[in-house]
């Protein structure tokens, strides 16, 4: 890959050490799916610190429930995957975690979303402050119609971050694994990048504001397998410093990158009118994919339904 060729040795070393060296499984080396899962399982078995605590969380759009009774913790420095069939409310749920659902007037959140013990929907919580800590990457890359540099600098600027903006931009682009590809054209319009580059730009843009958590709503669904692979590598690197929650339709992706997996399903209500999403199973990814506790999970992850 070209960017690795042009990378200077010091930088490569820094990146290697920051990505935890051998501890992080690479996703395309050898016959490794299970090995990778084991390695992560061991890591996950260590001390876990919950950052999110979801208590009976439900979301309704205009009175119609989309997802309900979601109860699970999300752990720090792990990748948590939300999987399930279309319409099961996983995207709806992830948008609760940084109050993006506030932008939809008809959406109403019930239950409690605790973040480091604070109720995110408490009356004295400003959603803008929530989003400063909890960044988000969307399904379709959504770069701003500005230069690459200004895309990255936008967040730090609106948040009034102090410091050398050039350094902030470079650091964010390096963390987003994009620096070597774009360092010579920082002033060109971001719309000229490929889809995969645009999505990494969006990730780098989210990193520039120094969040604690990154939410990713199907970040690879518009990308080809090579771009997807790069973003998965990137997520594994980022896990060292950030907590990541990812919604994905791609079960291999969930199996490759995540530590914990929540499987959602869609159920008809008692009155058989509305379809509502619920969590069927939440456990270590390895367990969900190799030894699921619920037959619906098994049917889904083995491809019998869905």
């Amino acid at each position: 890959m070209q960017e690795n060729v042009t990378q200077d040795p010091e930088e490569r070393q820094r990146e290697a050490s920051s990505s935890g060296g051998a501890a992080v499984p690479s996703i395309r080396e050898g016959p490794v799916q299970t090995q990778a899962l084991e390695a992560r399982g061991q890591k996950a078995a260590g001390e876990r610190h919950a950052i999110f605590g979801l208590e009976k969380v439900g979301v309704a759009y205009g009175g119609v429930p989309a997802v309900r009774e979601v109860d699970f913790p999300i752990y720090q420095h792990q990748i948590t995957a939300l999987i399930g069939p279309s319409g099961c409310g996983k995207s709806t749920l992830i948008r609760c975690l940084n109050r993006m659902n506030d932008l939809i007037p008809a959406a109403k959140v019930t239950g409690k979303v605790n973040y480091h013990g604070e109720d995110l929907y408490g009356s004295d919580i400003d959603p803008v402050q929530v989003r400063k800590r909890i960044g988000m990457v969307f399904q379709k890359p959504n770069p701003f119609p500005k230069s690459i540099y200004d895309n990255i600098a936008f967040g730090p600027r609106v948040l009034g971050q102090k410091g050398d903006m050039d350094e902030i931009v470079e650091s964010a682009l390096r963390r987003g694994a994009l620096w070597d590809e774009v360092k010579d054209r920082l002033k060109t319009n971001a719309f000229g990048m490929s889809g995969g580059q645009q999505q990494r730009l969006c990730i780098a843009r989210a990193l520039a504001t120094d969040p604690d958590v990154i939410l990713m709503d199907e970040p690879c669904s518009a990308l080809d397998p090579i771009s997807t692979g790069r973003i998965e590598d990137l997520m594994l690197e980022l896990r060292e410093n950030y907590s990541i929650v990812i919604v994905t339709h791609n079960m291999q992706q969930a199996a490759r990158v995540s530590n914990m997996t929540a499987f959602f399903t869609v159920e008809l209500d008692q009155d058989e009118k509305h379809r509502t999403g619920r969590v069927v199973e939440y456990d270590d990814t390895e367990k969900v994919f190799t030894n699921p506790g619920d037959e619906r999970t098994e049917a889904y992850v083995t491809g019998k339904v869905g």
Partner: protein, 301 residues
Amino acid sequence: MSVAEAGVTRKAVERTTRGQQVRELGFRAALLFSLSFGFLALAVLLIDVLLDGASLISYDFLAKFPSQIFPERSGISSSLQGTLYLMVLTAVFIVPVGLATAVYLEEYADRERWWNQLVEVNIQNLAAVPSIVYGILGLTFIVRGALDLGAVLLAGALTLGLLVLPVVIVVSREAIRAVPSSIREGSMALGATQWQTIWKQTLPGALPGIATGVILALSRAIGETAPLILVGAIAFVPFNPDPNPAEGQYSAIPITILSSVSNPDRDVQALASGAIIVLLAILLVMNAGAVYLRNRYEQKW
């Protein structure tokens, strides 16, 4: 010949029948015929006006004041400057007011609420109100009544502004709506406030569309005659408008045109053609500017 009639053997490719060809041609001719109405009307207008007025166009015509004694030496300086001044003042009024209204309606208003729906319907209706009615409104509330400004340039600009404000609002709303919500979401997800998102993402993205709309609205405003008559623009003004828009009398090109053609003196009538050429030239420049802005800066999402 249908397939059924031809039986089992059917041609690989059917030939076009004579009738089909005629229908195609006839349809195309009908379209061109319709097009020719607009085109011919414009051509006749331009040729007629140019024949009558082209000889009048000179620096003097633009720089001199009207004269009742020597119509052949008259100029339209006062009404040209009046029109340009009106345009600037109208823009100063409609841009902030129209933009703010559009931003409120698109970004803040809850469309479920009846009062917001009422505002929306009213703006659509206002765009269709005849301009003379705005003239009466301006006369009643701006020249006299509440504001009591008198028949000054500012009153004319405010009246024209009210007249084209609905257009500006509608166009600005469309431009704002064309900015995809993914841009707003991207901005909000970075911790930007709604105000920062509007100011730094939505409005810059919508600006080319808004600018185009404002130019088109202004070009409609400077061509209006009826409201200006009502709010007291004057046909014969042998001096340029006072720099203070709340002082003194003023004229405008459409008013000059109207008074010239209604004058019995043939020499004075000829002035109208010259004034029309000047007005058309201004409109052409503005519309070309709008097209240029749209093509050059319009954002492809």
